[in-house]
Every structure is written in structure tokens, then in C-alpha cells.
């Protein structure tokens, strides 16, 4: 089983999607995340083992990304490989046989249509074992609040790329605080920083996707 975790983790970390995929060149013609996950389930490996493999792989690539050792394309390929495994896990997640660690509601704030950062964070958090509820771009505060109410105990992540939409981020954080005071709010995006996070009363500022995943893992473990 250790072996399967490691094999899945290696495919995710390196972005080896399936056997056909030419990337990475040094894994050419080898089985990818797709084949390894399918074979494991066929051999009655418990599905949560596959999830552990995804988490380990995404954690490794996430750390490398925060250290500037890899860049966005590598992170995207890792997420794609992870998604191949997730396709196999979908029935188990839906039946409840495999449980998510929690839920993460994410969107870009009102007025902001830029979603690359949001997508990277969503992928990384998904790889960390959380269910993602992606509200997309230009999300009004009311929509965040409605979704939080439908998903009690969820985390919420707000993204802004523009300095001008930071004001809307502040309004959304305030509105979420007013209506759902217990919700843990994460913020991120190019113009956002720790000072701003403290000023607007969000719970966590994440400079990169991995730090957000680590924060949510800590929080959901109750430490």
C-alpha cells in the first residue's frame, strides 16, 4: 500500500497524467496517474489510499512551488494528474466511503474577473483532500453568504488580482463576518498582503496555494 501511495504521489508531483501523455519526458510510456489508480482499485486497494497519494504528491509540488523551484505550468500538470485519480475516486466520495476533510468555498470578489490564482488555489486545496465549491469570478457577497449557509463549517477563500477590487474584498469579508461569524476566511491575490488581511479582519493571508492548504489542514485538525 505504501508503494501505491508513492506511485500515485510520484505521478501527481511530476504531472504524469496517463500512459499516453508525453510529459514528463523521463516517464514516457510509463503508467500514469490514471492507470495506477484504476489498477489499484481493481486490486481492492482502499480508495482512501489513492487520496493519500494525491495529498502527498500535491504537497510535494506545492512546497516546490512556494520555493520557486517549479512554476505554474508544473503545478497545473500536477493538478491534472491529480484530477485523473479523483475521477476514479468520485463514486467513493459521492457514496461517502471516502470522506473529504472539509469543504472550501472559493471565488474571486465582486468586480474581479481574473481567475488563474483562484484556480491554482482550488486545485491545490482539492489535492489536499477538501471538497471544492467554486463560485467562479465576480462573486457578490450575498452569494458567498448563501453558499456558506448551505455548507456549514466550510472554509471560504476570496481572491482579488486588482488593487481596485481589494475594496470589494474588504466588503465581502465584512459581510461574511456579519452573517456567518464562525467562518474561517482565507484571502489571497497579487495586491493582497498580511497587513491588509489584518486590517479587513480575514483569518488567513496566503501568499501561495500551499500555505492555504497547510492552514486548512491545521485548522481542520483542530490544532
Amino acid at each position: 500500500m505504501e508503494n501505491i501511495i508513492e506511485q500515485i504521489a510520484a505521478c501527481v508531483e511530476k504531472g504524469k497524467v496517463n500512459k499516453q501523455s508525453p510529459f514528463p519526458p523521463d516517464m514516457k510510456d510509463q503508467d500514469g496517474a490514471d492507470e495506477i489508480a484504476a489498477a489499484a482499485l481493481k486490486n481492492n486497494i482502499p480508495p482512501d489510499v489513492l487520496l493519500d497519494g494525491c495529498m502527498l504528491g500535491m504537497d510535494r509540488i506545492g512546497v516546490k512551488f512556494s520555493e520557486n523551484k517549479v512554476f505554474v505550468p508544473e503545478l497545473l500538470m500536477a493538478a491534472k494528474a491529480m484530477n485523473e485519480v479523483m475521477k476514479h475516486l468520485k463514486p467513493f466520495l459521492e457514496s461517502g466511503a471516502v470522506k473529504h476533510k472539509g469543504k472550501f468555498v472559493i471565488g474571486t470578489v465582486s468586480g474581479d474577473l481574473h481567475d488563474i490564482g483562484k484556480n491554482l488555489v482550488a486545485m491545490t486545496i482539492k489535492g489536499s483532500g477538501f471538497e471544492i465549491i467554486d463560485l467562479g469570478v465576480d462573486v457578490p457577497s450575498e452569494k458567498f453568504i448563501k453558499t456558506i449557509r448551505e455548507n456549514p463549517g466550510c472554509f471560504v477563500g476570496l481572491s482579488a488580482l486588482l488593487t481596485t477590487t481589494m475594496a470589494n474584498m474588504e466588503k465581502s469579508v465584512q459581510a461574511i463576518r456579519d452573517h456567518c461569524p464562525e467562518t474561517k476566511i482565507l484571502i489571497g491575490g497579487a495586491p493582497v498582503n498580511q497587513n491588509f488581511c489584518e486590517k479587513i479582519g480575514a483569518d488567513f493571508y496566503s501568499p501561495d496555494p500551499q500555505k492555504a492548504a497547510e492552514y486548512m489542514n491545521r485548522s481542520s485538525a483542530g490544532t
Binding site: F23, V72, I116, T164
Partner: protein, 290 residues
């Protein structure tokens, strides 16, 4: 500048550039003015000024101070109409060889910015990447046709709003996205949008500009062999886009933009990407720098 016919709007004075943000935070106006002077000396034709979310009065002061150290016209960069109004009002064309400032930028959601034209005529950058739907909400354009249609509409509105309108007094921004995450074919659509705009006789003479540095954000600085990633891909982009009417960029005066041979690896990379879809684009970009 290595490409004579390319107009560079110097991008450095922008609150979203971390080092510049720090200058703003430290109230280091001298540092900001140095950026203006440096970009002027290095060949920028316009100096972009983006102060982020600061007060309109700050924009007005900064415009006045920058105009004391450069005779290049400015590009007032904000989506906020009050900051734009303050910047335009403070701007003195006579200190810039009687050239108009650029207003960066006007989108379908911000058409009221044209109201500022009567007090200070400007050259608008018209965003064509977004439009408004029937509910008045902003939506991204996801096809070249939609982008082109928005361009036509924006030019029509500009014509009605500017006294001395002519196509060459407007700049269309067809939108550029980072190539390193372009699994949805934005680059392909950008080239198609530019081609459609360029071939429309009604739009003859209109300027086209993109925020070029966006193209290569989130990529490593160097290829595995030590050659630069960003200037190569940006130059390849210019080599392909300039024949389609792109004649301006908001960009860096430090980058050595140049026209590349077709055999250059960066040119081959972008040519291949025009034929690829989805994650194959990402893989091809990685292949370029690996």
C-alpha cells in the same frame, strides 16, 4: 529600443509591481520620479501611472511631479473615475510637447469615463476582453468574435464621445493572458481577434496594445540552457502580433524586445501552440524552457 515601430508605454510606476508598491508605501516620491526618468531615458514613449487604491489627490500631485521630470506624455492608469479625473485634470499637455495623455482604460462597464474627455482630451485604451450582459453584469468574452464585436461597439461609443475622434486616437486592448496557464486557448483567440480588428476597414488606423509582461508571468526566468525565457517569448509574441496590427505595448523598457527569426525556439513554441489545445499548450511551454 530594438523595434522602432513599437510604442512602449513604460509599466514600472504601478502599485501592483511589488518594488513600486514599496516606494508608494514608504512615500518615496523621489524613487517614483526616478522610475519616470529612467523609463524616459530608456525609450518609453509614454509613462504609465497607476497608484492603486490611493486618494485622487495623490494621483493629481504625482502627475504634476512626474511632469516636472519628463516631457513624455503620461498614461493615467486606473479603473476609478475619480482617480482618473484627478490625474487628467492635473495633466498639462504643454509640458509633454502638447501630446494628449492616455487613459488606461475604459471598459463597457466604465463608459462614464468618457465624460472626462471634455475637460482633458485623452487617448483611451478600450478594453475588448469584457462586455456586459442583458442584466448589466460584466462578462468575459470567450471567443474572438465576441472580442471583435466589443471592439466595434467600443469604437462606436468612442466616436460619439470624442469631439475630434479618429481611429488613430484610440487604442484597442484585445487582452493577453499568461501563456503558462493558457489551457483554454486565449492566445489563439487573441491572435484571431487582432487579425479581425486589423482586417476591418472601418477600424483602419486604430492602435492595438496589450500588457505584454502578463504574457510570461508565472514562468521561470531562464531556460534549462540559461537563455532567457521571458524576453524570448515576449519577442516571439511581438513578431507574430505586430503584422496583425499590434503597435503598442504596456511593457518594460528593460526587456530587449526584438523581431525573431521563424527558426527561433520561442517562435516555434508559439507557432506550435496555435495548433494545440488544452493541456498540450502547457506541456509545449514547459518543453520550451526545460
Amino acid at each position: 529600443m530594438s523595434i522602432e515601430v513599437l510604442t512602449i508605454i513604460g509599466e514600472s510606476i504601478n502599485d501592483s509591481v511589488p518594488s513600486t508598491h514599496q516606494l508608494f508605501e514608504d512615500s518615496n516620491i523621489e524613487g517614483i520620479l526616478e522610475l519616470a526618468k529612467y523609463q524616459d531615458e530608456k525609450g518609453a514613449k509614454y509613462i504609465d501611472v497607476n497608484i492603486g487604491l490611493r486618494e485622487p489627490g495623490f494621483m493629481a500631485d504625482l502627475v504634476k511631479k512626474i511632469q516636472k521630470v519628463t516631457s513624455k506624455p503620461l498614461s493615467i492608469d486606473t479603473p476609478d473615475i475619480e482617480i482618473a479625473a484627478a490625474g487628467l485634470e492635473a495633466y498639462q499637455p504643454e509640458l509633454a510637447n502638447h501630446q494628449k495623455p492616455i487613459l488606461n482604460s475604459i471598459s463597457r462597464l466604465r463608459l462614464n469615463m468618457f465624460d472626462l474627455y471634455k475637460n482633458q482630451p485623452f487617448i483611451p485604451i478600450l478594453l475588448t476582453t469584457e462586455d456586459v450582459n442583458e442584466n448589466g453584469e460584466s462578462v468575459m468574452n470567450h471567443t474572438a468574435e465576441a472580442t471583435y464585436n466589443t471592439a466595434k461597439k467600443m469604437m462606436k461609443i468612442a466616436e460619439q464621445s470624442m469631439d475630434d475622434f479618429s481611429n488613430d486616437q484610440c487604442i484597442l486592448d484585445p487582452g493577453i493572458v499568461p501563456i503558462g496557464s493558457d489551457s483554454e486557448g486565449y492566445f489563439k483567440r487573441l491572435m484571431e481577434s487582432a487579425a479581425r480588428i486589423h482586417s476591418d476597414p472601418d477600424l483602419a488606423g486604430v492602435n492595438m496594445s496589450v500588457g505584454l509582461s502578463n504574457f510570461t508571468v508565472m514562468l521561470p526566468p531562464k531556460c534549462a540552457d540559461g537563455s532567457p525565457v521571458k524576453s524570448a517569448l515576449e519577442s516571439a509574441f511581438l513578431t507574430m502580433a505586430m503584422p496583425l496590427g499590434l503597435n503598442m505595448v504596456i511593457g518594460s523598457v528593460k526587456r530587449k524586445y526584438r523581431i525573431l527569426e521563424e527558426s527561433h525556439p520561442a517562435m516555434q513554441c508559439l507557432s506550435d501552440i496555435l495548433q494545440l489545445d488544452g493541456f498540450d499548450v502547457i506541456v509545449r511551454v514547459m518543453e520550451f524552457y526545460s
